[in-house]
């Protein structure tokens, strides 16, 4: 078996093993209700970490607005589920909501990618941040209602919807209330496995190699006949779509969905970046493990949560310097030989 294939299987095995252990703990009543509440968030953070690693580690472009795509996925899917909560049974409703969430996030990823991917490095990062904030702010000022005459939109207030009775679904900064709780841990794990499948297979395909070639040297990639723009778009769109799937899980796991900074602002996006960096840039499995551990630790260790961001930020700085500083790399090569050389692992 090829090294890559084996590596991929190990990743799936770890996820499935963790799932089985947690399910057993749950069935035998060994999981506190607090812990149970953390399981679905853990899966959507792992999923968005995989999505961001596709963007940062495989495509090599830093996005600090990925929670914006999660926000799109969350709101579009919640809108659908909320609007059809009485007319459709849970299973088909969730599947359609999931597809809507993924498709909308992918569409926004594509549209935003057109201007963003023309830029490089820091500019790209700051524009993704800008788009993330724009998405959040616009949704906060967005009102959608439904009545006998159909859909009503407003950017001012719920009153401006001019509805005849009817139902205000998206209520500006108050968001969407009453989305059915269609998500659960099993669905989260399945979506995580699918995301892993898509990203890991992509990396080991023609398209994935082209994407990584662009990351490593776009001038050489062009000279080798690779269409840099379209492959960048492809990776960015897939990454946004996966982030959208995380959003669908998010919105179908809470009662009131608001486009708050806590979940969808750039700080939240940076938190995901911390997961990716600490798990290893370009290391997909690492992202999943880091996201789960770093999400659970502060939730489980009360004392730790005060210091967690402080510790994460120090670890982030130290990791970057240890892994990327030319002087440190040279020193490590001298001391430990080639093995310790800092390099990105491809999944």
């Amino acid at each position: 078996m090829k090294k890559q294939t084996k590596n991929n299987l190990i990743t799936y095995a770890i996820v499935i093993a963790a799932y089985i252990i947690l399910e057993i703990l749950m069935l035998t009543g060994n999981l506190s209700s607090h812990m149970k509440g953390l399981l679905v968030p853990m899966t959507y953070y792992a999923i968005i970490a995989v999505a961001l690693n596709l963007c940062v580690g495989i495509l090599g472009e830093l996005s600090i607005g990925h929670c914006g795509f999660m926000c799109i996925g969350a709101f579009t899917s919640a809108f659908f589920s909320r609007a059809t909560s009485e007319s459709l049974p849970a299973a088909p409703r969730f599947i359609i909501a999931l597809l809507i969430g993924i498709a909308s996030a992918a569409l926004f990823g594509f549209l935003i990618g057109i201007p963003v991917l023309r830029l490089k490095g820091d500019y790209l990062a700051i524009v993704t941040l800008a788009f993330g904030e724009i998405i959040k702010n616009v949704i906060n000022a967005f009102y959608v209602g439904i009545d006998a005459k159909g859909l009503h939109f407003s950017m001012k207030s719920a009153m401006e919807l001019n509805m005849d009775g009817g139902d205000t679904i998206v209520n500006g900064a108050m968001g969407i209330t009453g989305t059915p709780h269609d998500a659960n841990f099993t669905i989260g794990i399945v979506l995580l496995l699918i995301s892993l499948f898509v990203v890991q297979n992509l990396v080991n395909s023609r398209d994935g190699r082209a994407i990584m070639a662009i990351r490593d040297n776009y001038i050489a990639a062009e000279a080798t006949g690779i269409n840099v723009t379209s492959y960048k778009m492809m990776a960015f769109t897939i990454s946004a779509a996966i982030a959208g799937a995380a959003g669908v899980l998010f919105s179908h796991n809470i009662t009131t969905l608001t486009a708050s900074s806590q979940y969808f602002g750039y700080n939240a996006s940076i938190m995901i970046l911390v997961y990716v960096v600490l798990g290893g840039i370009g290391n997909i499995r690492g992202s999943v493990i880091a996201a789960c551990i770093l999400y659970l630790l502060p939730e489980l260790l009360r004392g730790f949560s005060t210091y967690r961001m402080l510790i994460y930020s120090i670890v982030l700085i130290v990791m970057m310097i240890v892994n990327w500083s030319p002087k440190v790399i040279e020193w490590r090569k001298r001391t430990f030989g080639r093995i310790g050389a800092g390099r990105r692992k491809a999944a």
């Binding site: 940062v56 090599g60 830093l62 600090i64 201007p115 023309r118 830029l119 490095g121 820091d122 500019y123 990062a125 700051i126 524009v127 941040l129 800008a130 788009f131 904030e133 724009i134 702010n137 616009v138 906060n140 000022a141 950017m155 001012k156 500006g172 900064a173 001038i219 750039y266 700080n267 940076i270 970046l273 911390v274 960096v277 840039i281 005060t306 210091y307 961001m309 402080l310 994460y312 930020s313 120090i314 982030l316 700085i317 970057m320 310097i321 892994n323 990327w324 500083s325 030319p326 002087k327 440190v328």
Partner: protein, 294 residues
């Protein structure tokens, strides 16, 4: 009359953005890195003024001086410890991610020391301001001081860069580090000096920002910092007059859209400008084109 008031408020906010943007643009111009933590230097400066003023029962002048000194030290130390080791790293993302780490670190240190609750900051400008047309048009003292200070800073910086050896060294290092080194310029020291200037300006900007908007929290600097970067990009990164123009445009747009369109959407409009500028003229209003050598 009210439009005029808003315009002047916009100018004042824009002047603060401009002072912050100067720090970004100088650092970006020479070290070719986005110092994501620059906005947090502002917050650090504010807390220093806040603490020193409290200790000296309201004497903010000493507070400002201490803040400028400490922020300068903070900037130089950050550059030395966190950014310098990553100069020449294989990926340009490395130093940006590190800068994000520094930003987080500063915010969380502030959080541990001062807590998350918002402190009310007493203005460093005690002057009431001016009143025109029988009190219909009032301009606050802090507004006037802010605008004047930013103009003074701009003029002094321009003179420094164009007339002094250190300033010329900065220009040379921003053009070509290798060639500058060959000409006997100590590039590392020049970059450190740039950080020192940028960070001291952040302290000044912090004093003015918190005087105009007197609520201080660990996240006070983050959003103004990002908007100032937008201003620097808008004006053309690396250009000092560009940062000034970009800052003013951004401040005015923000205040006017808050007033006349929607306070919810003001930030979206500000960031929308960034996107449009980068699409239409990626080098900004006064920036110049750089092409990678093949």
């Amino acid at each position: 009359m009210s439009f005029l008031t808003y315009l002047i408020n916009g100018l004042s906010l824009g002047s603060i953005y401009a002072i912050i943007a100067l720090g970004y643009t100088m650092v970006y111009g020479i070290a070719k890195m986005l110092n994501f933590a620059h906005g947090d230097f502002i917050m650090v400066g504010c807390y220093i003024i806040f603490s020193v003023s409290a200790a000296l029962s309201g004497n903010s002048v000493v507070g400002i001086i201490v803040a400028i000194i400490l922020c300068t030290l903070l900037g130089v130390t950050t550059e030395f410890v966190a950014y310098r080791p990553l100069r020449g790293a294989a990926s340009p993302l490395a130093v940006l991610i590190t800068a994000i780490g520094v930003s987080y670190l500063l915010e969380n240190i502030a959080l541990l020391i001062y807590g998350a609750d918002i402190k009310s900051f007493s203005s460093v400008v005690k002057w009431e301001g001016l009143s025109f047309a029988d009190g219909q048009l009032k301009i606050q003292g802090v507004t006037i001081v802010t605008i004047v200070v930013s103009v003074v800073i701009l003029v002094v910086l321009q003179l420094f860069i164009n007339k002094t050896r250190q300033g010329q060294a900065m220009l040379a290092a921003s053009e070509d580090k290798g060639a500058a080194t060959l000409m006997g310029i100590n590039v590392n020291r020049t970059i450190a000096l740039t950080f020192a200037i940028g960070s001291s300006l952040a302290a000044v900007a912090g004093a003015l920002l918190c005087s105009a908007y007197p609520s201080l929290s660990p996240y006070t600097g983050a959003m103004p910092g990002i908007k100032a970067f937008v201003a620097a990009v808008l004006g053309g990164i690396g250009s000092i007059p560009g940062a000034m123009i970009g800052g003013l445009v951004l401040g005015i747009v923000e205040i006017l859209s808050k007033t006349y369109i929607s306070s919810q959407l003001a930030d979206a409009i500000v960031f929308g400008i960034l996107v449009v500028v980068l699409l239409v003229k990626p080098t900004g209003i006064l920036g110049k084109q750089i092409q990678e050598k093949v």
